[in-house]
Point group: C2
Chain length 359, copies 2
Amino acid sequence: MTPLSRSAILNITDGIEPPDELWRARARAHLDTLTKPLGSLGYLEDLAAQVAAIRRANPVLPMSKAVYVFAADHGITAEGVSAYPSAVTKQMVLNFVAGGAAVSVLARLHGVVLHVVDMGVDGDFENVSGLLHRKVRKGTRNMLREPAMTDEELSQALRAGAELADEAAAAGHTVLAVGEMGIGNTTAASAITCALTGSTALRATGRGTGLDDAAHESKTAVVDAIVKKHFAELTALNPLDILRCVGGLEIAAMTGMILAAARSRIALMIDGFISSAATALAVAMEPRIRGYLIAGHRSKEPGHRLLLEHLGLDPLLDLEMRLGEGSGAVLAMPILESAVALYSQMATFSSAGVSEALA
Amino acid sequence: MTPLSRSAILNITDGIEPPDELWRARARAHLDTLTKPLGSLGYLEDLAAQVAAIRRANPVLPMSKAVYVFAADHGITAEGVSAYPSAVTKQMVLNFVAGGAAVSVLARLHGVVLHVVDMGVDGDFENVSGLLHRKVRKGTRNMLREPAMTDEELSQALRAGAELADEAAAAGHTVLAVGEMGIGNTTAASAITCALTGSTALRATGRGTGLDDAAHESKTAVVDAIVKKHFAELTALNPLDILRCVGGLEIAAMTGMILAAARSRIALMIDGFISSAATALAVAMEPRIRGYLIAGHRSKEPGHRLLLEHLGLDPLLDLEMRLGEGSGAVLAMPILESAVALYSQMATFSSAGVSEALA
């Protein structure tokens, strides 16, 4: 058991309510008055109604958008599971902050405030500004040999994510994208996917940043061994135990943020494989957050497809991206804003003098 | 035969060249230097390389974007093929201009210049400003009884679209979305789909703006009768004949715009069913335009799926929209801009000091 992290989660999940169905129905009724054939905006109508239900209000622009990119290293990289060296985690954090990474470019283009959070990078950032310092430890332990985190480390990471969600709520953000950086973290996400969905390692393990066939086979064997080591039987697993044994510090922080954001009635734009693994853990801890979730995109990682099915989420985009960083979630932000713009700015049949459908 | 429209098309297609493969290769090489795993931006990389090949230059922001919404009425509405009265075409044109329609809202949000073109609305717009007056005729003829257009009308509509593309090029636009409004025009698009793909009317005919089962069945029978009347055999059909017999004035103008835009090396964001019918006709007239096309979205109309397959285009969005107006194309514009932003603004491995993949 995990008493410390259990108490952290109880504090975070306390007071979470599902989105408001009365507001969803009200929003649907409004959508049906707008100058378009009934239902012809497809998922955009679902999105607008979801935002109304989440915010308990008629959605309007501008939305206040932020993306949090949580970074951490992974002890499992000692097993050769990534095409890139661990040093890239730190290098990419500097690239995020300098504005040169994919998520930096997309956030700038789409008016999304970028926050980069060091949850556990194996390196120092003493003189780096523009970075949120929440380091728990310089990377997780090698989960092939021992649990990735102690209960205390897990609790600290969960709370850090939750506190950032509280700060985002206080800053007035109404939608958050949740992304990450961490060489080795698709291995963690694959193990989480196996634990939550009962999938085999073979189905849940992809090529990450670009493994060749032999390395992919070896990574799959590592995931299989991790799952067998920590979870003799894939039944009645506690999501906190899964997170502690095979998670990452960035994944734990994302889980904490997702839970606490739902408590503050903030819409959550989920990114790719890692982000969805954190989301699936959060849902396992508190199913009432489900209505706050929007899947930004479907990544090319095979495990992501399993997680989206597990979560029952249809992604907005399916562009064969597999980058992480929150890039797919930020790319989907203009679609969400479009839904809100249509909801709040379109004319009605009566205001525009447009005839309705024939009886 | 159609000598007038044939000469119009020869004038328009003269000088069209495919996108430049050298520039595409150059762009791909640049993408591989950026701080991301190789190929991890998926279709966004294809898009950026396509824009480079189209423009024969490194793509940069800002892009100059416009959407043209071509409006016209259809004589076939006499057969009861639409859930809405014909008067809605004119009413919606006024709504576009007033800023209250879906495409108006989306164009405003995403910085896309909206042009509304009256190609053949059954109504007068004498005192309406903000509208491009290119009316050929107050609606097409009833194509169940006679060809929808004369050769002269077709030629005039094609040229009007081409001239607007030339004006867009002169205004510096680098990407155009092509949309439409016209009660009855899914019937025209279904007939075009049958003629171009050999599909049955049953597979190519959808519910348009929202027909019930009985009306959908009746519309399918109308499409079947139209195709049988004009095209005894679905082989070796001339696209100009197809357009003249079963097209619409707005569809002809879109076809002219698409051809002439390709000549001016402008990227074309295609919208839904009607827009894709015009595109498929344009490709049948001049296959070298294929590389200029980007499919903005997949509409819920069943015929659109057939046309996208026929054109070999993968859409950027698949959100169950079925509104037309260019709405899906404008909604996809931020994705195209994202691709260009990533291409032009991301750091390279060497500039950011990020380690490359392990050997």
